[in-house]
């Protein structure tokens, strides 16, 4: 039975993970996402999940490796500094092709930074983070509802592709309270068989080995080629985005997560002052929606990227647009959330610079 609740984003993620049949959670507290381990320590344990507060994020991600390798649905969550600590383990998990769910409730950096929301970890999330050629599937929720929904989706994609999935969100989405609907979801109907898992060798099969070591370079290249083939499949099948008011728009804004929410307000404010702007909200940051950008490039006079960082996703937008029309950028850093008004102001300057007339 589906259920409606009023919850913080972090709590919604935690609740959804229980409903998604997550077998084990390993984590280390860090603001602004400690509600997850707190919620699971109570509700998760009561409802049969293995929930462990462990000695560090390094230990947590390696416990995920062990549990996922043993066939469990496993999840860890953290915020920026903790996610940095996990990068070696994430690289191992990507190479060993272990399905698992990770979440970064992004806070402002670099360094210890601030506990305020940020999108400063975009590069780390979509361009690798750890060593070697690998990709996480990266989903960017923009509401408390999506922080819950993407947990189910994330586990299913992880199982389908044997690939780690990262939910990239931020401190504001983690902390804000909204209505959230938990749909019917039967984990048993979604969990896939894992014949590769190390559960104890029976006499009918050779041993299962989970490893990321392939000493001979031709062997290691084969592994890489297999991974790349998988990434191409993911790029072909799993791109997700949302379009708002792009039909006939002069300029399309590009923003994900919290900034996409703010940009919806910018559309409204823009309309009041006669601007015709739309929004493309990437839902998957990897695979990135390049194709729709190429398509929109044929229709609009420019794109305007809004991020809570110094300009990271804007590089992917430029790749997709490929010089066809101008690309503008507005960003705030260090935990500052831009207001709709300041974005609108900057957008107007951009539109002036590319000579799009306001229809007053």
């Amino acid at each position: 039975m589906s259920e409606i609740r009023l919850m913080k984003g972090n709590e919604a993620t935690a609740e959804a993970s229980i409903r998604a049949g997550c077998d084990a959670y390993f984590g280390y507290p860090i603001t602004p996402q400690s509600e997850i381990i707190e919620y699971l320590s109570d509700q998760g344990r009561k409802r049969g999940m293995i929930v462990m507060q462990v000695e560090s994020e390094v230990a947590a991600i390696n416990m995920i490796y062990g549990a996922a390798g043993a066939g469990a649905r496993a999840m860890t969550t953290s915020s920026s500094p903790g996610i940095s600590l996990m990068q070696e383990g994430i690289s191992y998990i990507a190479c060993a092709e272990l399905p698992c769910l990770l979440m970064n409730v992004n806070r402002g950096g670099p360094g210890l930074g601030t506990i305020q929301p940020s999108q400063g970890d975009y590069f780390q999330s979509v361009k690798g983070g750890g060593h070697g050629d690998y990709h996480l599937i990266v989903l960017a929720p923009a509401s408390v509802q999506e922080m819950a929904d993407f947990v189910y989706l994330g586990f299913d994609l992880a199982d389908k592709y044997r690939n780690p999935v990262l939910l990239l969100t931020d401190g504001a989405l983690g902390q804000m309270m909204e209505k959230v609907i938990f749909p019917d979801y039967d984990p048993k109907a979604h969990k896939l068989p894992k014949p590769w898992a190390t559960v104890g060798k029976n006499s009918n099969r050779p041993p299962n080995v989970i490893t990321s070591l392939h000493l001979h370079s031709d062997e290691m290249e084969k592994i890489n080629l297999r991974l790349q083939e998988k990434y191409r499949k993911i790029e072909a099948n799993e791109v997700r985005y949302e379009l708002m008011n792009t039909e006939g728009a002069d300029v399309v804004m590009i923003a994900y997560g919290l900034t996409a929410r703010i940009c919806q307000r910018v559309i409204e404010l823009g309309m009041q002052s006669g601007l015709n702007v739309g929004l493309m909200r990437p839902i998957t940051l990897y695979p990135y929606p390049y194709e729709i950008l190429a398509k929109l490039s044929e229709q609009v006079n420019g794109f305007f990227v809004v991020e809570m960082n110094a300009g990271q996703m804007v590089e992917d937008v430029r790749l997709g647009v490929n010089g066809k029309v101008p690309v503008g950028f507005y960003g705030r850093m260090g935990g500052v959330i831009p207001t709709a008004e300041e974005i609108l102001h900057s957008l107007q300057l951009f539109m002036k610079s590319i000579a799009v007339k306001e229809k007053v």
């Binding site: 390696n62 062990g66 043993a70 066939g71 496993a74 104890g200 060798k201 041993p207």
Partner: protein, 273 residues
């Protein structure tokens, strides 16, 4: 795996390679302790009939590809993280048997935090700790367990307290933690020692079956290549130099620290090979 048919001509079979060891030829240097410990470990798993429910965790170190030799399900962990990986496995499969196999660099340097916290939580698995006082795999650099004065490629003048600190006795450290149940130090430098080691491994797996908590077996081992000795010299050197620092014997039995001198010190006569 292919079976090799050997005509027995009525001879009695006194030793057979257990089915828990694969036919893959080991890559270890001649005289290296790793191969012996693998053999002992796999014999015990075969003897106890637990091949189908044992999951091993390989470290980063010379034994990184031990999964090529052990005919059981295994996971290869990042350097130092074997006990974290084992925790993940054991927590989701509490009725399976789990062990880690780790060198001194893996367990007592880069993985110190994971080692101590797994022991402190009393994780119900076995830790096999191969102490050869050196980083074998990377070419013979100083280990946290290297002896004072010991020459390695990063201590060309011998390990000095002033700059490199003391050899760490992590086995004694974890024995003080209430989560640990059976802690012992064994070796593989002669046949008697190997027999003691086998008894210790058997005991540890039985404790795990009884869900008693963490068991750790330190194996004082050698590294002929890193020590730049032949195998005979290495085992002699081990006895003369490693034992005064890392004396063999039980450190904790059934959750209680052993007070007096170890009871399982290998027989003096037999150590002089």
């Amino acid at each position: 795996m292919s079976e090799i048919q050997v005509p027995t001509n009525g001879m009695e079979v006194v030793w057979e390679k257990p089915k828990t060891l694969t036919d893959t030829r080991m890559h270890y240097c001649p005289g290296c302790g790793h191969g012996v410990v693998h053999k002992v470990l796999m014999e015990v798993i075969a003897d106890l009939g637990i091949q189908d429910k044992t999951i091993g965790v390989a470290p980063v170190g010379c034994s990184v590809i031990s999964y090529n030799y052990m005919n059981i399900d295994m996971q290869e962990a990042a350097h130092g993280r074997a006990t974290a990986v084992a925790t993940g496995i054991k927590r989701v499969l509490p009725d399976k048997l789990v062990f880690t196999y780790q060198g001194d660099g893996d367990l007592a340097a880069i993985g110190t935090a994971e080692t101590i916290h797994a022991c402190n939580r009393g994780e119900n698995f076995l830790i096999i700790f191969i102490n050869n006082a050196i980083y074998g795999m990377t070419g013979g650099q100083m280990a946290p367990t290297s002896l004072l004065g010991m020459v390695t490629s990063t201590t060309p003048e011998g390990r000095q307290v002033e700059t490199q600190g003391f050899p760490i006795k992590i086995t004694e450290m974890v024995a003080t933690l209430p989560g640990t149940y059976y802690i012992t130090r064994q070796s593989v430098h002669n046949p008697t020692a190997v027999r003691y080691l086998k008894k210790a491994v058997e005991k540890a797996f039985k404790h795990q079956l009884d869900k008693k908590g963490t068991c750790l077996i330190e194996v004082v081992s050698n590294c002929p290549s890193g020590w730049k000795m032949n195998p005979v010299e290495a085992n002699k050197w081990l006895e003369q130099n490693m034992f005064p620092m890392y004396s063999p014997g039980d450190i904790k039995i059934e959750g209680k620290l052993v007070e007096k001198k170890p009871t399982t010190t290998p027989d003096k006569k037999e150590t002089k090979l």
